[in-house]
Amino acid sequence: MAARIEARGVRVERGGRRLLDGADLRVEAGEIAAIEGASGSGKTTLLKAIATLLAVDGGQVLLEGVDAAEIAPTVFRRRVAYVPQQPPMLEGSVADNLATGPRLRGAELGGAAAGALLSRVGLPSSFGARVARELSGGERHRVALARALANDPVALLLDEPTAALDPVAARQILDLVGALAGEGLSVVVVTHVEEHAARLGGTRWICRAGRVEAREGAS
C-alpha cells in the first residue's frame, strides 16, 4: 500500500554541492517521523524538497502514491503543510493569519472555525484579535501550526518546531504534535535535540551527508 508521504532517492544540488544525495523516507498515516542530524546534514533541504518548495535534481516525492510532479503545487501544498523553523507571521491579526490558506483558495474561515483551530493548538479563541507580528516565539509556532491546519492537510512537515523555545513551551509543542498524529495526520519533524525526538515517540531517522538512515534502536 502507498505511504502517505514518501521521498524516493531525492537529490538536490546547489552551486556544485550535493545537499541531498538520494534521500529516502516513508511516512504512513498517523505516523510521526523524527529526523535528527547535525546542522548542514540536509534536514531542512529534505523537508523543503518534500514540501515541493525546493526544485529537486532527481528522485521523487509521492503523496499517497502519486508523484508530486503530477499534482498542482497549490493543491499539493494545501495537503502537505510545511512550517519553517522561524515561521514568518503575515500582516494583520492572528485571525487574518489563520484565514490566509482558505482565502487563497477562495474560501472563508468563520470565527467559530478560527476559534476551533486556536483551541486545537492550545490557545484561547480571544487570541485571534492579537497582532500576529507582536507574538513571542512560542506563540508564533502555535499560530503557524494553526494556520497550516486551516488548510486541513493530511501531512505536516515541521522544521525545528522547538528551536528557541523554553523547555515548557517545547514540551507543549511536542505534545501537540503527538495529538495531531493521533488525529491521523502524518508528521515529519526535523530536530537536532535527541530528547525531543525521543519524546515524540514515532519512528526515528538520522540525516547524514544528504541521506536519511534509520536511527539505531529506532522502532
Partner: protein, 262 residues
Amino acid sequence: MSYVEIPLPRLGVALGLVAVAAALSRRSGLGLAGDLTLGAARCAAQLLAIGYVLRLLFAEERWYWVALALSVMLLVAAFTSARRVEHGPGTRVLFPRALAAIATGAAVALVPVFTLVVVPRPWFEARYLVPVGGMMLASAMNVVAQVFERIFASAHAEAAVIEQLLALGASPQQALAPQVRGAVRAALIPTINGLLTVGLVALPGMMTGQIVGGTEPEQAVRYQIVIMYQLVAVAAVSGTLAATFARRLLFTAGAQLRVDGG
C-alpha cells in the same frame, strides 16, 4: 514660426551655469566636479549629435530612417533599464524582457495617437514620430527600471514571507501580489503626480519648446495634454508587463521561489 536663435558661442555662456555648480561642489567637498564636467560634456555632445541626426531625418523623410532611429533609441532604453538590477538575474536575461515591455508600452501610446489624434502626413513624419517616440521610450525605460529594481529587491527581502504563502497554497501570482502592486504603483505615481500638477508647478518641456518655437499656446497645450495621457498609458502598460516578466523569472515551473531571480 519665429524664435530667437542661439549662436554656438552663446552656448558657452550657458556652460557657465555648470561651472557654478562645479565650483560649489568643490567648495563643499561633494566630490561631484568630475561627474558634472563629464555630464555637461556628454549632454552637449549627445544633443548636438542628435540635432544633426534629426536634421538629416527631417530632410530625408524616409520611413526606414525613422524606424532605424526609433529602434536604436529602443535598444538603448532596454539596455539601460536592464542594467545593474540588484538581486536580479543579470542584464542578459532582463534585456529581452525590458525590450518587450518598453516596445509594447510605447506602441500602445504611439499608434492610436498617430493614427487618430495627431495624424501627420506622411504617417512616419520624423518631426513628430522621433521626438514623441523618444519621450515615450524614455518614460517606459524609467518605469521598467524602477519596476525591476523594486520587485527583485522586495522579493529578496521578503523571501521568507513569499515562501510561507506558497507553503499555504498560494500561486506565484498570489504570493508575489503585494510586491507587484507596490512596484507598479510606485512606477505610476510620478506620472499621476505629473497629471495633477502640470501647469501649476512647472510648464512641461515639450509645451515650453513649442511655445518658444512659435506655436500658438492653445495648440501647444493640446499637444501637451496628449503627451501626458500617452505617458500614463506607457507607465501602466510597460510597468505591468515588466512586473509580469519579473514574476515569471522569480519562480520555477514548479512554483518555487528563486531568490536570485533566475
